[in-house]
């Protein structure tokens, strides 16, 4: 499985959130993982509206795609959790284009960091360790809760729901894999 490509697709799905990019990203996810929902029945407008209701706004999002919401004691964005992720990115040479304009622990950025680490790991073994840590100690802890909350609020959606399921499964698999890997070593 082309993991970096999958991560890229997940990332784009959550980062751009617009019909065309949702469709494109979903197609890629299907190509990498196999068998997506049949695309004839999909109402892409509905998917876009659902996406915004869940993650963007302008109403208070039902399931913001930011780690702090699920991890910080008061759900405080730009608090301790965001600061830790910022520090982590800095330690692996990544930063936002404009520090302070968005929280670093937004899902799309975290997926991008994962993608970057996987690509880096091909040359630098320590990157694989960082990747495993990031999944085990961070993503694996908040993403399942996030996807569960989001799924409560998208009864009519096919695509958004499917992507949430796949994302959650993927994170859990990766966590499982890395744990396994550690055990054998």
């Amino acid at each position: 499985m082309d993991k970096p490509k999958l991560l890229e697709a997940f990332r784009d799905f959550f980062h751009y959130g617009r019909k065309e990019q949702l469709r494109e990203a979903y197609t890629t996810i299907g190509a990498v993982c196999g068998a997506a929902s049949s695309s004839e029945e999909i109402d892409w407008d509905l998917e876009e509206f659902t996406f915004n209701r869940l993650f963007t706004g302008p109403m208070a999002p039902k399931a913001p795609a930011v780690a702090s919401v699920y991890l910080d004691p008061e759900g405080l964005i730009q608090g301790a959790v965001t600061a830790e992720i910022r520090t982590f990115y800095q330690s692996i040479g990544l930063s936002l284009y404009e520090m302070g304009s968005e929280p670093e622990d937004s899902l799309a950025y975290e997926l991008d960091a994962c993608r970057y680490l996987l690509l880096l790991a091909r040359k630098v073994p320590e990157a694989a360790e960082a990747y495993a840590g990031f999944i085990d100690k961070h993503l694996a802890i908040w993403v399942p809760e996030f996807t569960a909350r989001a799924r409560e609020h998208c009864p009519d959606s096919l695509v958004v729901k499917d992507v949430l399921v796949r994302l959650s499964e993927w994170v859990e698999n990766e966590a499982g894999t890395t744990t396994q890997h550690k055990e054998t070593v």
Binding site: P73, E74, G75, L76, G79
Partner: protein
């Protein structure tokens, strides 16, 4: 010193504390208690701003199994170190003033420590600086010389064994001249 005569119940102190420490929704270290109408005649028009009373004989320090509550020699602040907390609930249950707050999410007790980091840096606690009417002040009990300062004003429970350090000035009520009906 809580001067309820000056206090206008504006909640700036309570919010200044939240602004400083970012406690989660539902966890409030300083809050306003409206004084009941049996003690003050007008509903929701007089308040005691209360957090931790930094007692002379703090029960929290007594019952804490890991010494997370410690009363400082130099200024009497009862400092709470939340990271030491093992969530045994003893202080939460034992403090009759409810100063030890139950943080069910982080699973630990939390308490006002009089902004000890600010105090040590020569700054005022957030609530004291943040009070627009100067109703909250830090006083030295050793030199306090105000005949109006009370330890147990009406509506504030007496716990002499603890000997709370907070002092109060009572609110005043106005003379009234009331038109009966509006019409």
């Amino acid at each position: 010193m809580v001067n309820s005569k000056k206090c206008v119940g504006c909640y700036s102190c309570a919010q200044a504390c939240k602004n400083q420490y970012h406690q989660e929704p539902g966890v409030v270290w300083r809050d306003l208690t409206p004084i009941a109408t049996k003690h003050y005649p007008h509903r929701e028009r007089a308040f005691y701003s209360l957090a931790c009373n930094h007692c002379d004989q703090p029960v929290c320090a007594e019952v804490c199994p890991v010494q997370a509550h410690v009363k400082r020699e130099k200024d009497g602040i009862v400092v709470h170190s939340a990271e030491k907390c093992i969530y045994c609930h003893a202080c939460i249950d034992e403090c009759p003033y409810g100063a030890a707050k139950d943080n069910v999410v982080l699973k630990r007790a939390e308490k006002c420590s009089m902004c000890v980091e600010r105090v040590d840096a020569g700054l005022k606690p957030a609530c004291v600086l943040g009070c627009p009417t100067k109703a909250l002040t830090i006083v030295d009990l050793a030199t306090l010389d105000n005949p109006k300062a009370e330890q147990y004003p009406p509506g504030f429970d007496k716990h002499e064994a603890l000997n709370p350090s907070t002092r109060f000035i009572r609110p005043m009520a106005p003379k009234l001249a009331l038109a009966n009906k509006d019409s």
